[in-house]
Amino acid sequence: MSLAQHLPALQVVIPLLAAPLTVLLRHRTLAFAVALLASWTAFAISITLWLQVDASGTISYAIGNWPPPWGIEYRVDPLSSFMLVLVSGMASVVLPYCRSSIEDEVPQQQHYLFYTMFVLCLTGLLGISITGDAFNIFVFLEISSLATYVLIALGRDRRALVASYQYLIMGTIGATFIVIGIGLLYLMTGTLNIADMGQRLAAVQGTRPVLAALAFLTVGISLKLALFPLHQWLPNAYTYAPSAVSAFLAATATKVAVYVLLRFYFSVFGQSQVFGQLPMQEAMLLLALAGMFAASATAIFQSDLKRLFAYSSVGQIGYIILGLSFDSVSGLTATILHLFNHGITKGAIFMLLGLVALVMGGTSLSRVQGLGKRMPLTSFGMVICGLSLIGVPGTAGFISKWYLLLAALEQGQWWLVFLILLSSLLAVAYVWRFVEAAYFREPRQDVDANATVPWSMGVPTALLVAATVYFGLSTGFTVGSASQAATFLMGAR
């Protein structure tokens, strides 16, 4: 049994082992080194898995050699491999950034614990993406969520504690709803293996427990993915968490929740059940549109940049769900594509905001005045990422928008096309609030003139900003994976 055959298991085990190691090591530089090594290894493994799946199709791995459906199965299919790359990639880019970022924001004696929680969160997210067992999803979901609550609470401001508590309450309710849904499904099918469940559900389609399970799962997952109006926890959590945490969460947490939704909808229930039995399409469409407009509009009136972009995230999640509501391959491609594109864009934005917090002492619009003079590269990076949020050609956001429009046009929904584009104009409005503050005002007097950005923070940020442009021009990987995943999911049933 070569190492290569155990890659699916190692994907999760390596970050998992890193966690107690960092706790035992206590020393913050060593803990950082372990965490960094673990996430880079995880990234390498995810790329290998992606290449394998691309070449030869779905990989099925039985944990402990117990054959599914009695044992837990790790199943890497086109969608999972894409998610794995996204999550581990973001962790690999954010961790080097963490080193200097948390110097400023987290007390020194807690640094090694920060890395422990980070690595645990990574484990959870990777586990969710790779497992083929429904209850296992819940377990990993809670692992990552608990780690997330701790990470958020490490923020400087005391409001981080309240934000974390609020997220804990709402997140646990969401997870419990998910577990209720899984329980009902287990009662009806007698199995927890996702693929097996999908097959057995065909016999009990349309029965009330199954529909109830669908409802519970949808609401529970919607809480986790911050679908309007269940998004209340997100603005506070993103605003008060340490910058590196906001960057990592914005890029991964809600995206993995969308993955869970897709997994349940398509691999367990099947498209016909979800969209045929319940008015899922209309409900998702309405909520997505509401989120897009309400959240983007709220973003325009925020005075703190982190909060502004947090609301922007809620709006962008609206786009993601909108793609899902089309019930077509293009729509699903748009959804999966935007998971990735928005992930890197928002990750880059929060990392840039971390740089701003470091040098300017805060991220409110009044502190950011004159940023164009004081930190020209950072401002430029923010403009590029802002353009990606708007969907200007040449950026990653444009590609997702293209597919979203295509999906709407395929169904002849011109009114929806215009709504999508009008909401992009809202994005112009809130991005331009930053531009005007940064370029049209003079820097404040009380800003530390000597603070500079360390390399360890600047390089990962620049990398993500470059990625935002790169994936807007070279779309082979993203569009290829997304459409492959979409076709795979829609073809399942």
């Binding site: 209850f135 309240v162 309450i169 009662l187 703190d304 409110s364």
Partner: protein, 127 residues
């Protein structure tokens, strides 16, 4: 005859629903942070019941293989719920730890007082 059978047979589900709703109500209606956590705990307990109760089959015995018996109760829900209980405990511990820290920072664990205290510093934060 039938109604009693149904009521009796579904007794556990009624309890489940009652606990579920009671727990959720406490979380939403109570402003004290610890009471919210208690409500959360009650809500999670209802889920344990939801899983375990159906596991006991009528006429089923404990899941230990023996030639004398043909119907066994399912052990899988117990395994799942043990996991869920552990998760619940961890969540409760984390929630209580956060409550302690919030008490230190705000000198209160009432939600409305905390929100009031937070509303004012937002102007300071802009400075």
């Amino acid at each position: 005859m039938n109604t009693t059978m149904t009521l009796g047979g579904h007794f556990t589900y009624f309890v489940t629903i009652f606990l579920m709703v009671a727990g959720l109500f406490i979380v939403i209606a109570r402003g004290n942070l610890i009471k919210k956590l208690i409500g959360l705990g009650i809500f999670q307990t209802s889920v344990y019941l939801l899983y375990i109760a159906p596991g006991k089959l009528v006429g089923g015995t404990a899941p230990i293989l023996s030639d004398a018996f043909t119907v066994y109760s399912s052990p899988l829900p117990h395994v799942l719920i043990l996991t869920a209980i552990v998760v619940g405990v961890a969540t409760l511990a984390l929630g209580l730890a956060l409550t302690v820290r919030i008490r230190e920072a705000y000198d209160s664990i009432e939600e409305d007082e905390i929100l009031n205290m937070d509303a004012v510093p937002s102007r300071q934060e802009q400075a």
